[in-house]
């Protein structure tokens, strides 16, 4: 007998803004029929700091620390995307060593961010804290490297327009190599803990399926798009910095379900390790540091630049009027579009899967609300 024609009174559950697993201050207005989700209305904006307005009142250099606060898990990538956009506006070329350093730190940060994504995803599925703690342990190693490189653990403010703030410190290449050696077996640990675990498979396979067409139509980017089977990675398809010199694969999924999204992130971990290995081996000796640049005056014009951040394509649309402050700065945050699809994905799933799908989309409210 089909149970689908049995309905109970609709239950309205306000999930968030304070809830253990809404990844920040997200508010989901869930309409439940028993345990099944009928509708889900997403309310955002609890973390709105009006970054774009702030940018209009800051110089180009002064805005770099603010980009740290967008996607605070992957600050390096935010710095990078912003700095590259300004450099494109200025038509500025960056020393080769600075490019390599940027690649290394951006990929390290991608690993840190993906680790957090995997850990919190497992946490959302109810593997209480254990995978999260393992991921944190490994992420800590990355953060310690960053601490050494740029002196901060979360908001790095490391990139500068035209280069980087500091050169790599003495002996850091040894530490990064050690980290790669340490990280590889840990990935196997996660595989043992999660990938083939029957409960995990049950919870993730064929749930929250995001088809290729829907993903493109909703402008989903990053690992979520790749999990839906679109082989698209800006690092490969529109290479910036020196990504075209490295060999790496673009992991893609087949079905676009939760498991595929998890799988793509896991594979990207090892691909990033591969990139870092090559970058460390090929890093040239040269000047990489630049002054902070108090007065940067690009010519009037507009530029749109996007870079592959761990959550997708982070775009900066900068309009300059020739003064020291940007006339308009638009941040095209990947999580913003990625969250928009949530309503589509959660219709008809159980309430427990809502948090799972949310976790698998790997959103970050700092970036969505800006």
């Amino acid at each position: 007998m089909k149970m689908s024609n049995m309905h109970s009174e609709q239950l309205c559950v306000n999930m968030g803004p304070q809830h253990p697993s809404t990844h920040g201050v997200l508010y989901l207005d869930l309409r439940l029929d028993g345990e099944e989700v009928v509708d889900c209305i997403t309310h955002i904006g609890y973390l709105h700091r009006s970054m774009e307005k702030i940018a209009e009142n800051r110089t180009y250099t002064q805005f770099i620390p603010f980009t740290d606060r967008l996607d605070y898990v992957a600050s390096m990538n935010n710095n990078l995307a912003y700095v590259l956009a300004v450099e494109k506006l200025l038509n500025l070329d960056v020393p080769e060593r600075a490019k390599y350093i940027r690649v290394i730190v951006a990929e390290l940060n991608r690993i840190a961010s993906h680790l957090l994504a995997i850990g919190t995803f497992a946490q959302d599925l109810g593997a209480f804290a254990t995978p999260l703690f393992y991921c944190f342990r490994e992420r800590e190693k990355v953060i310690e490297i960053f601490d050494e490189v740029c002196g901060n653990r979360l908001t790095y403010n490391y990139m500068r327009i035209g280069g980087v703030q500091f050169d790599l410190p003495e002996g850091i290449d040894r530490r990064i190599k050690d980290f790669i050696k340490y990280m590889r077996p840990k990935i196997n640990d996660y595989e043992g803990l999660l990938t083939n675990n029957p409960i995990f498979l049950e919870r993730t396979k064929n749930i929250g399926i995001l088809s290729k067409e829907t993903a493109i139509n909703y402008s989903i980017t990053g690992p979520n798009l790749r999990a839906s089977g679109v082989q698209w990675d800006l690092r490969k398809d529109e290479p910036y910095l020196v990504y075209d010199k490295f060999e790496f694969a673009i992991p893609t999924g087949k079905n676009g379900d939760m498991w595929d999204r998890y799988r793509v992130r896991m594979d990207e971990l090892s691909q990033s390790l591969k990139i870092i290995e090559q970058a460390i081996a090929g890093i040239p000796e040269a000047q990489a540091t630049v002054k902070a640049g108090r007065m940067i005056k690009p010519a009037a014009g507009e530029v749109y630049f996007r870079a592959e951040s761990p959550r997708g394509e982070l775009g900066f649309y900068i309009v300059s009027d020739g003064s020291v402050n940007p006339y308009r700065l638009k941040i095209r945050a990947p999580s913003f579009s990625n969250l928009a699809v949530l309503r589509e994905l959660v219709k008809g799933v159980k309430v427990a899967d809502v948090v799972g799908i949310l976790g698998s989309l790997d959103i970050l409210m700092g970036e969505i609300d800006r």
Binding site: G126, A127, T130
Partner: protein, 320 residues
């Protein structure tokens, strides 16, 4: 006719049992925190006493001193009584648990049936908490819990019946005596029954990976979301007492109870019980949580058929 001496004995026994229960629950809370911490490569509580042994006592004092918050719109009576309805059955089950050769409060001749019947009533408390809290998360947790416990009762009972076929008695002491030759777990049929029992008992006491009624990530804290202070502590104590009970039953039914060489009976009994509890904790901190429909599917599609087939095979063994 209650004489003075029997009254004194009764009071002594009751206080001993209650003392043991609270001591055991506190020890288990500390142990769980330690096990989880070390699985996660942390230290866990380290401040109060040696490696934080006194942490549960500190927590209990803190909870006792807390303001008793009554949320607006709760169903007062139901909400107030729920913690008692959860805790009392958990305590009552101790009457028939054999700690040693003569160390049992009352060797009921329907011992195991009594325990199962009493512990099953704990669900009333959980559902009352879910209903009375006037909170949607609590309500969902309570409903999940009711569905879950009723479905897992079936494989649980069938696996116990398999044991009873071999022991030939419902009395806990007689079941232990029946294992004089060998532990029941060494019997292949009862080996299967042991796992069915452990899994369904885990679900019965709402432990991970079946902790849906209090599913942290979706239901905040499930049925006890709105409880604080001592009422919350009672839920907590009930959870750990129940965990002790099911492990004690497993030890009695399958691992020979208090039987064992060299060491005295109660020691053997506690070793076996705590080993099972450790496994439960280990499992809890490893696996993701199952979803509510998968949980029910697992009970009806996997555990119940297995236990039924197992029961038939066991019966055939005995009749042969």
């Amino acid at each position: 006719m209650v004489t003075l001496s029997s009254l004194i004995v009764m009071v002594l026994v009751v206080s001993a049992v209650l003392g043991f229960i609270s001591a055991s629950a506190m020890f288990l809370i500390w142990w769980e925190r330690k096990v989880s911490a070390h699985i996660q490569t942390r230290f866990g509580p380290m401040r109060v006493g040696w490696h934080g042994v006194l942490q549960p006592i500190a927590d209990a004092i803190k909870l006792l001193c807390k303001e008793d918050i009554v949320p607006v719109g709760v169903d007062k009576w139901v909400w107030w009584l729920a913690p008692f309805f959860v805790t009392v059955p958990a305590v009552m089950a101790f009457v028939a648990i054999p700690f040693g050769k003569n160390l049992i409060v009352q060797d009921l001749n329907l011992g195991i049936l009594y325990i199962i019947a009493i512990t099953s009533t704990g669900i009333f408390g959980i559902f009352m908490a879910g209903w009375g809290s006037n909170n949607k998360y609590s309500l969902l947790g309570g409903m999940r819990s009711a569905a879950q416990i009723i479905s897992y009762e079936i494989p649980l009972l069938i696996s116990i019946i398999t044991v009873l076929l071999f022991s030939g008695s419902l009395s806990m002491q007689k079941i232990v005596t029946a294992q004089a030759k060998y532990w029941f777990i060494l019997n292949p049929s009862l080996f299967v029954a042991f796992f069915v029992y452990i899994i369904s008992a885990t679900a019965e006491v709402n432990r991970a990976p079946f902790d849906l009624p209090e599913a942290e990530s979706e239901l905040v804290a499930g049925f006890h979301t709105e409880y604080s202070g001592m009422k919350f502590a009672m839920f907590f104590i009930a959870e750990y007492t129940n965990m002790f009970t099911i492990s004690a039953i497993a030890a009695t039914l399958f691992l020979g109870g208090w039987r064992g060489p060299l060491l005295p009976g109660p020691v053997w009994f506690l070793i076996k019980t705590y080993t099972i509890i450790f496994v439960l904790m280990w499992v809890r901190w490893t696996f993701p949580r199952v979803r509510v429909d998968q949980l029910m599917g697992f009970a009806w599609k996997v555990l119940t058929p297995i236990s039924l087939v197992n029961l038939i095979i066991a019966g055939w063994f005995i009749l042969k």
